[in-house]
Amino acid sequence: MSTPQNAHVLLVEDDAAIRETTAMLLTQFGFSVRTAADGQAGLDAFRSDPPDVALLDVMLPRIDGISLTRAIRDAGTTPIVLVSARDHPLDVVAGLEAGADDYVTKPFDGPVLAARLRAVLRRAGRIHDDSDGRGRLAFGELVVDPAGMTATVGGESVRLTATEAKLLSELARNAGIVLSRDQLLESVWGYEWGGDTRLVDVHVQRLRAKIGAQRIETVRGAGYKLVR
């Protein structure tokens, strides 16, 4: 398994017992963990030393998790995983729309949490890989480089998060073919079964906002496809 050795996790969680036990668990799984107890401390810690991945509780004092997600997303493409005790549809969607890559609900299992973190780190890691020479895919103004995980629209580079880049690459490699939400959950997020299809829906929306809404078509009851 490609565990990013000593990947830096910034854990922002106000409940001391959860903060402590989660940090201990993640350390066991080979992560290096820094913690913060509220949103402001989390933002300060992020600015002073950007982590490889941010793990944020949704309900935080001073700056809530959704606002913190937005602040981190505005600053760059650092992967963000939300932790929520409330799986109310609106909470999850608000977090994803603010820029989170994935979420886990409390209570979580150590291995599951570690797997979610590794999945977002793998996606982020690929961005820095060199292009392996495979061809870029052009769709009119839109040019996607699946290997380099980048895209340009009309020659201008589009800033994508790792998850968005991976999602766009999957759609581009299969341009004109409908990919189901479950297929995308597996190929992009690494869920083999039981992922939340809203992850796909919200990320497609975000991608549409960046490359043009008409490029990704919703096929009712089936999934999404990139228009050739």
Binding site: T21, A85, P107, G110, S180, W193, G221
Partner: protein
């Protein structure tokens, strides 16, 4: 389910009011008609008698002074009615009515009498009066009955609508309202029922919210417990802590799932689902692929919500393996998924009442959350499916999920 109570037509307010109004109007019209007729007949006959008496007095005067008998009069008419002749012979002026004729007679000097016979002019008038009273009476009865039916219909309709809404509320449709207009007693009853429904649903909502909040609040301490448990060693006490924390977690998740279903906030995500494939994946995910016999016939994909369906199938499998025992058979045919075990069958009260939270019927507590079948039944309702529980003749307990469209 709300049961619509059928009314015995004879006991219906509508029919009773209509019949009462009809009967009352018949009695009233007949009474008034009869009185008017009797009084009128009496008065017109009296006036005819007076006219006849005047005529015979005139005839007697003429005869006494001229010896002439005026036209229409007769001296000692033998055809005059006997009682009149008797009275005249006794020296009296009299009139006598025989059906269509009016006789008048008066004595003449010398013992004889003079008589006048005229056609009773009132026969025709009274016949017209009878016909008019009858016609007006019939029209009045019909009008009154019709008005009564309309009134009773309106009243009965409002009452029946109120009863239907009350039945719907009793059946669990807590947002059903009568929304009565007006200020009469029926409207007041309707508003009282509406207020009762509001109070009832607020109370249910408070209790539902409370159990959902409790389950939510339990998640935070559980999170640290789950993680801390995972960090413990391998001794027996640590194993028990982990196992019991797991049970607590399953209970909290099940409570939250019930709260979510009751809240109804999450939309159905319908997609074409290959039922045999979904059952296979569910079995594999539970490591039960080898211990369960799967019988399947290929069919068209079914449009349903795969996550909810997977939950139902998983809960039915859990229930079968926990209370029933092997061999377990799962049959997939068209729109139906059947899970049959080889245990003692469902308890009689489960078959009778349907799933009730925490009523497991198991001698030993602590294996399951006691909510599995409740969740399965609730999710089935959300999918528009039927969950049938039975103890077939072939033995064991059998749960059949029939998806809509089959």
């Amino acid at each position: 389910m709300p049961t619509l109570r059928r009314l015995d037509p004879r006991r219906s307010l509508r029919v009773r009011v209509a019949l009462s109004v009809a009967a009352l109007s018949i009695v009233l019209t007949a009474g008034i008609g009869l009185t008017v007729y009797t009084v009128t007949r009496h008065s017109v006959t009296e006036s005819a008698r007076h006219t006849a008496a005047d005529s015979v007095v005139v005839a007697a005067y003429v005869y006494n002074h001229t010896g002439q008998i005026v036209t229409g009069a007769a001296r000692d008419a033998p055809s005059a009615p006997a009682p009149l002749r008797g009275a005249v012979l006794e020296g009296l002026l009299g009139t006598y009515v025989t059906g269509s004729q009016i006789w008048a007679g008066t004595p003449l000097p010398g013992g004889a009498g003079i008589y006048v016979e005229t056609a009773n002019p009132n026969t025709h008038t009274l016949a017209t009066l009878r016909a008019t009273i009858l016609l007006v009476g019939v029209v009045a009865v019909f009008l009154a009955t019709g008005l009564g039916v309309l009134l009773a219909n309106g009243l009965s309709k409002e009452l029946r609508a109120a009863a239907t809404v009350a039945d719907r509320v009793a059946g669990g449709e807590l947002e059903a309202r009568i929304a009565a207009h007006g200020a009469d007693e029926v409207a007041r009853l309707g508003r009282a029922i509406d207020e009762m429904a509001v109070a009832l649903s607020e109370r249910i909502e408070r209790e539902r919210r409370f159990s959902a909040d409790v389950a939510h609040e339990l998640r935070t301490p559980l999170t640290a417990l789950v993680s801390a448990g995972a960090l413990l060693g391998q001794d027996r006490a640590a194993q028990i802590v982990r196992e019991r924390v797991g049970a607590l977690r399953a209970l909290v998740e099940d409570l939250l799932e019930i709260a979510r279903i009751e809240q109804g906030g999450e939309p159905l995500r319908l997609e074409p689902v290959d039922l045999p494939a979904l059952v296979r994946i569910t079995l594999e995910a539970r490591g039960a692929r080898d211990s369960v016999t799967l019988e399947q016939t290929d069919g068209e994909p079914v449009l349903t919500d795969p996550r909810r369906l997977e939950r139902i199938v998983a809960n039915l499998l859990d229930n079968a393996s926990r209370h029933g025992g092997t061999p377990i058979t799962v049959r997939v045919a068209d729109h139906t998924i059947t899970v049959q075990d080889s245990g003692p069958g469902f308890p009689a009260e489960l078959l009778h009442d349907g799933p009730v939270p925490f009523r497991t019927g198991a001698a030993e507590r602590g294996n399951g959350t006691g909510l599995g079948l409740t969740i399965a039944a609730a999710q089935a309702t959300v999918l528009g499916a039927r969950l049938q529980l039975e103890n077939p003749a072939s033995g064991g307990a059998q749960a059949s999920l029939v998806l809509p469209g089959g």
